[in-house]
Subunit: 189 residues, 2 copies
Amino acid sequence: MDVSEQSQALLEFFKALADANRLKIVGLLAREELAVEQIAAILDLRPSTVSNHLSYLTHVGLVSARPQSYYNVYRLELGALHEMARSLLSQETLQAAAEGVDVDAYDRKVLKNYLGPDGRFKQLPMQFKKMQAVLRYVVNVFEVGRQYTEKEVNELLGQYHEDTAQLRRELVEQGLMAREGGGGKYWRI
Amino acid sequence: MDVSEQSQALLEFFKALADANRLKIVGLLAREELAVEQIAAILDLRPSTVSNHLSYLTHVGLVSARPQSYYNVYRLELGALHEMARSLLSQETLQAAAEGVDVDAYDRKVLKNYLGPDGRFKQLPMQFKKMQAVLRYVVNVFEVGRQYTEKEVNELLGQYHEDTAQLRRELVEQGLMAREGGGGKYWRI
DNA sequence: AAACTAATTCGACGTTCATCGAAATAATTC
DNA sequence: GAATTATTTCGATGAACGTCGAATTAGTTT
């Protein structure tokens, strides 16, 4: 299944259970199979309303219908429910919900405010989260897998702001770059 | 927690995740902590909208806020999420959603149609599900833990309908009563 | 064949709710 | 202290959705 399809299925699953009466229907079907008419009587709803709810739940795959004589008997699909619950326990499922969104939108907004037309920062932001956006931007001047002397680092950072020392220090603090213990060698993570 | 409170909490949990943008927020927070402004930029929403969503998610216990400098950083409460997912795997949780509903409403509706003013059935229903309602009603003339001869069974069932043989046979078929292998002893389950 | 029962579909109504802008609150920076 | 930044609250608006009644379809009983 595609990632966008997966997040779409997750959303529709929650929407299917986000109504009081639909949730009651699922609870009733967890006890025994029931026909539309029976559910309507129990919940004091019109059959057409219950039919709509069951149609929704069927579309999501939570219930299924079995024709018996001239009416339909609905049953709960426990497998689909458990599979959904289990996928909620995995980290990737939730992150997939945020797939396709523009995660760099905030960084761009910050850079637009602080970056001058000459490509230099007028001043470095005070706020932690904004400074992070700046650092994620300037770290791109360094290639991965290559070592730099402190002098080289300062020269490259100098095109962005005069306070190269602060930039260098925070890059290391944020874990975007690393420094060899005693010597002056830097490299990008 | 009370049963009705539990089903209420379950419903609000689903409603909290039944919105596309709220689901995306949860997905984003599954990757890293974020402030309101950042989420608003990423999802292209106004900060007030995001604040409302986060207020909802906080109320349900899915996220929590940590004040930093003069803004709030929100983080996902993985524990609450996993606890909810795990409870979905248990049978009792869903049945609790249908607690407090009138499960006998359909049976009463059927009995009202078939039961005469003298307490006897004018005729026995053809439909399976309606016959079940009748059987669940007539089985109450028998005490649990006591044995009856076939003659006693027929006399007790006779007050409801003349066709005691059918009633007796279906009571056993539906598992509401049991019969000793060779002899003529019956008892209620 | 006619009457009956169950379920679904469709259109309409009313409520809920997501979204926004404006105002208010609070904390920080210059 | 004044201006800035981030967040929250509140009222309004528009869209989404649950509910119902009427009409339709399908299957059953007599």
